[in-house]
Symmetry: C2
Subunit: 535 residues, 2 copies
């Protein structure tokens, strides 16, 4: 009997454990499938237009006179690759009156490969569009004389969470007859609608579903109920938008609910309070190639003014030498990996709030006051501020460029670069707002890392960084923080060193390289430009 | 006489050149100043609320019954740092029923430094908010019974450019009396209003300024004129929004115009058409530290299946060895620079469309079919897809995690991580959508570079990358692409090598490190969390 009892107890224990294990693995929610394929979906576009009254057609008969000065500012259909022609043909003409030149970019490719490149580019672009378009950018028009009051902007919910729809949705129905039933139909697509509280006298149908209806003969009660309408996102996506429709008495109200996590901050510890602690706030980053003497001059000059600031050096020289010293981080790369790859490497290692980019042949002087640049970024919303570079001749350059993109059609967009800037910065009379600057700048580390230096650019490149940063970098330039540039003047009686010759071979390459990794090939394929104009 | 004529001609030539030089340097536009200081500006918030009729106050008297099942889903005011308490205390309880534990993050700091850390964090966060808030996210409510029809979403202009305001702005004024004058006042802040064409019978005032008025006694003509209203952005900012007000007969219409460049694509050349060319599409990236034997095993296993795919290796070992072979890129870092610094370095060098992350102790097998992962990313909108890692015991893990952030108040937000996923992916039955995955994944290079691996994380870290990617990475996980993990099982009779011992010292560090560079210290300061809960 005892052994029987033991067996029984054991059997029960085993069953209990098995049941618990089964319960644990039992799916506690039925996972729905989600369609994340790259195919076009329904878009709410001009939905209301079909419902507009006939009056619009009558407007077509009313004549108008075009105002050329304004009409000429509007975007054309597609962009045309043209520069400025003619102009005075004096000896100093290009210097005094720099003309705009236009460069069609498809010329980066051999005729034999161009069609294939265009086909691939169009395919990649179509994918990109599907991934980046959002219902939150679609044109929505508010109807006139809508009895509904509703929110048109600013409604947000975190993925899979619930909110009360804000904006005191109200129905201002003004019929005089007593007590007709007023009904509101509400629809969502990526989530469900519900009510957080119930009000007497209001009939609710479809609560917890994508389509909900509220109806009542008591308008104040209906409006009270409307204050408790909730939206719950049920179809997960980290950053998207749902379009919600409210409909009543033949009137429509359409608005978007943004579904997103919210922007997580990426803050940096700034070191001790009080004055700017440059060593805690700034890391100097540079790339070097076969110019250890110039690099050492740079380091020595930095140390005269900033003995403890960290210097990050990306090095793709052929036989790398050791660079030692406190607060120096030296990174060895495969030989000749490239200019922008080295820049991307250097900034990828920065752990301070700001990064200062310098070329390896700069020299710090008493005018190279980094505190001034830090002050600009600490007190404004700029992300990057350039300084000035002084040549041996005394000529000082800030290389300010404005950049704009004119949308094109299938052939691609047009990229326009012009010397100059947009505005002077209030409170910083030596500083301006622009789009591109010289290769001596202080920037927010997280923004520079986010934009990045494309490692496909192996040799000559500069403004490509600012083109990639368009729309995300707010760029400034100050001409009162100056760094010197070691002279490039080649004196005829001084023989060029071997490393100088090798350097020149890489720095000023011949035209025969992999087409999509050249500057123009990359602008054509990667950024989908057809034309570049500049002065 | 002749010398006089020559002198005269010379004088004229010099004067001409001087005049030309003067004209060239003459400012051709008066540059306005722009205020980019970090200070709060006027925000259109609840603008209409003050103007709502008294009726709203009467609604307050109408009673309601709370629906708990819905009300409980709404966000609380601030978040609370609590896990799950109690639960069955069986031997396998945590395994069968993993409980949620909560970790307050301020504990990363000594009591003596905590106040200063909180103060600095609050200051940095305030700056961050000023840089990231946008008028395009502010709550706007459309009035009921507005005679104006206007666009509420989707109006965009490129910086300093001009558009016609879309949406067929119309006035549906319906008064019966003959010919009263109808007036519309329009206001903008970051730009000016104008008309691209003029219509008879409409009086225009303030055209070309920030405040324009159209008035007419002929409604159809006024509506025809409204079709030609233009907006020109005049105050430069690379990404912002202007709030435009239309007012007529006591009614207001408010909407945003987004001012931005548009998203510039970053496309990659995918190699030959036809089947997936893994070598052209994928770069394998890894970081190594004192484990050259395991690294060589990884490389050999990769080469068995993918002889020409590029492998990028970031190496912060103390005495780096040479790793040679075709299609291998070896990067030497300062000794012990760190885990995420190495990951950031490796991905910063990738020039193909996709990057595959592997740890240096993985082994490729016949089940490691990269083509399957490429297929997922080519055909869906996912940015990253994880695979599965098989241990020597046969246990295979995908380490799927869902991540959400609950907004908090001054103490910071609450970060919630749970094992699991959101949905199964339609068409890919072995794949799901989630937020975090194991360290074996294929991802779009541009997205991974944009999110980045924070080099402040020197030793142990994993999900921090996915936390930084929240909202920008669309993450998936497939369990049918498997890589093997070299065994970590330490057999008692096998002596640990010197490098194994050094490795262990770095890999599993003691708790005493720079607080803001620890995992929890960084979550507290950088991302502004107060609490982490997970199961």
């Amino acid at each position: 009997m005892r052994s029987l009892r033991k067996t029984l107890l054991l059997a029960i224990l085993v069953s209990v454990v098995l049941v618990l294990a089964l319960l644990h693995s039992w799916p506690t929610r039925a996972y729905t499938t989600v369609d994340v394929w790259q195919r076009p979906g329904p878009i709410v576009e001009r939905h209301l237009e079909e419902r507009l009254p006939e009056a619009d057609h009558r407007l077509g008969n009313i004549p108008f006179r075009v105002r050329d000065s304004v009409a000429i500012l509007l975007a054309r259909n597609g962009c045309v690759c043209e520069g400025e022609s003619g102009g005075v043909n004096l000896p100093f003409a290009q210097l005094l009156f720099p003309r705009v030149s236009a460069h069609p970019l498809h010329t980066a490719f051999e005729a034999s490969e161009l069609e294939e490149m265009k086909r691939r580019r169009a395919k990649e672009y179509k994918s990109f569009q599907k991934r980046s378009e959002s219902l939150a950018d679609v044109l929505i028009i508010a109807e006139a004389n809508n009895p509904l009051q509703y929110p048109t902007q600013g409604v947000e919910v975190r993925p899979l969470k619930t909110i009360i729809i804000p904006g005191r949705v109200r129905h201002t129905f003004v019929k005089v007859d007593c007590c007709p039933t007023v009904k509101i139909n509400m629809t969502a697509t990526l989530g469900t609608l519900n009510v957080a509280a119930e009000v007497d006298g209001v009939k609710i149908k479809g609560d917890g579903e994508m389509h909900m209806t509220l109806s009542s003969s008591l308008l104040p009660n209906l409006n009270r109920q409307l204050q408790f309408v909730t939206y719950t996102n049920t179809l997960f996506h980290p950053s998207t938008a749902d379009t919600v429709h409210f409909e009543t008495e033949g009137h429509q109200a359409i608005f978007s609910i943004k579904i997103r996590h919210g922007v997580t901050p990426k803050l940096y510890n700034t070191g001790s309070k009080g004055e700017y602690n440059v060593s805690a706030l700034v890391t100097i980053a540079t790339k070097t190639f076969l110019r250890y003497d110039k690099l050492q001059d740079l380091i020595d000059s930095v140390r005269r003014y900033y003995p403890t600031v960290t210097i990050v050096i990306a090095d793709d020289s052929e036989n790398p030498k050791t660079i030692s010293g406190p607060y120096i981080e030296h990174y060895i790369m495969p030989f000749g990996k490239g200019w922008f790859a080295g820049r991307n490497l250097a900034v990828s290692q920065v752990t301070t709030k700001y990064v200062l980019w310098v070329d390896d042949d700069f020299i710090f002087t008493a005018n190279t006051k980094l505190e001034k640049l830090v002050d600009v970024l600490e007190r404004t919303t700029l992300d990057l501020v350039g300084g000035a570079v002084r040549e041996a001749t005394g000529y000082t350059a800030t290389y300010r460029q404005t950049i704009s993109i004119e949308p094109g059609e299938e052939d691609g967009d047009c990229l326009h670069m012009r010397r100059g800037f947009h505005h002077v910065i209030q409170g910083f009379p030596n500083c301006v707002v622009t789009d591109g600057v010289i290769n001596f700048f202080l920037a927010r580390t997280d923004k520079v890392q986010q934009v990045g230096f494309d490692p496909r650019l192996t040799r000559v490149a500069h403004l490509e960084f600012f083109i990639d940063g368009l729309g995300s970098l707010h760029v400034g330039s100050c001409d009162d923080v100056i760094v010197n540039h070691a002279t490039k003047i080649k004196l005829p009686w001084v023989t060029q060193s071997e490393s100088d010759k090798t350097y020149a071979k890489f720095r000023y390459p011949p035209a025969s390289s992999d087409a999509t990794h050249t500057k123009n090939g990359l602008l054509f394929f990667k950024n989908r430009f057809q034309c570049l104009t500049h002065n």
